[in-house]
């Protein structure tokens, strides 16, 4: 084996391994660049109503809009002074009003 061949082989091997490593790194990073939120998520829209429980009861809320009418007395809990904002969607639960998400399965 001549010196040139050995040197060339070493150089090619080094370049090939480095190129393979960089290529793998780039490929591995590609999926991570995907947005975590769904592309169709409309951040400015209210929570989309789904076929979750259609609770007739009033939700706990984070804030009450000034124009929010009072909840029907038949459904509002007597022991809470929490006003119920209307204009909410879905099952009218707290998590449809900017409150914490409950534990339903979104069915």
């Amino acid at each position: 084996m001549s010196f040139t061949l050995v040197r060339s082989a070493a150089g090619f091997a080094l370049l090939a391994v480095l190129a393979a490593g960089c290529g793998t790194a780039a490929a591995a990073h590609s999926p991570a660049a995907k947005p975590t939120a769904p592309a169709h998520s409309a951040t400015t829209q209210p929570t989309a109503p789904t076929n979750r429980h259609q609770s007739p009861s009033a939700p706990a809320t984070v804030t009450a809009p000034p124009s929010a009418p009072a909840a029907p007395s038949v459904t509002a809990p007597a022991h809470t002074a929490n006003p119920i904002p209307q204009g909410n969607g879905g099952d009218q639960d707290a998590d449809n009003n900017g409150g914490p998400s409950d534990g339903d399965g979104n069915i």
């Binding site: 010196f3 998520s41 929570t47 706990a60 099952d91 639960d93 998400s101 534990g103 399965g105």
Partner: protein, 199 residues
């Protein structure tokens, strides 16, 4: 083979070894997967203090205990919720228990919960920590601690959400607080989760 040839062969071997080390390092750093999360804190199931109110899920499949500073609020018909409300009716602490309703499972709970948040209530949600095989009073569960931002109001919340399997039924307990006050709220919320009883 001459001395020069041996020397070049040695150089080639050194170069190959260096390239292998570099490649392994690159592959290790570039390995796809979830970003590292914190370890889930140990949950020791324990009954709530006697002063804590208790509310049973319709059907009797689980019992949620909540601190006296919270009060029961209305939510879904088959669920129970309690919250501590601050000025302006801002929710400071939130507890909810709901029977399992969808396709959530113990093995995919964290992913399910984050996907549900992103698709339903939140513009973003990220996992902080997760664990499976968590012992509960009367059962075993999978838990996730996550942080999310609501679609409405862009409120930042952090939560512990656990799917707990009892003898016959599974249910979900959620304990949440505004992210800004999470550090203060966390011990009490965690105590409520640890007191959750399933049947």
């Amino acid at each position: 083979m001459t001395v020069h040839a041996l020397r070049y062969a040695r150089y080639a071997l050194v170069a190959l070894a260096a390239a292998a080390v570099i490649t392994v390092t690159i592959l290790a750093l570039a390995r796809p997967g979830r970003p590292p999360t914190q370890s889930f804190p140990p949950l020791v199931p324990a009954a709530a203090p006697g002063s804590w109110p208790r509310v049973t899920l319709p059907g009797g499949t689980a019992v949620l205990s909540y601190p006296p500073s919270l009060r029961q609020i209305h939510g879904d018909t088959d669920a129970v919720s309690a919250a501590r409300l601050g000025p302006g009716n801002v929710i400071q602490l939130y507890l909810n228990a709901t029977p399992r309703q969808g396709t959530e499972s113990l093995t995919h709970w964290a992913a399910f919960r984050l996907a549900l948040l992103r698709s339903d209530d939140a513009t973003s949600a990220r996992e902080v920590a997760a664990a499976e095989g968590v012992k509960f009073r009367g059962g075993t569960g999978s838990c996730v601690i996550d942080a999310y931002v609501t679609r409405i109001g862009a409120h930042h919340y952090q939560e512990i959400a656990c799917l707990v399997q009892g003898r016959t039924n599974a249910s979900v307990i959620v304990a949440a607080a505004p992210a800004a006050s999470w550090a203060r709220a966390y011990p009490l919320l965690f105590q409520a989760v640890a007191a959750y009883l399933v049947r």
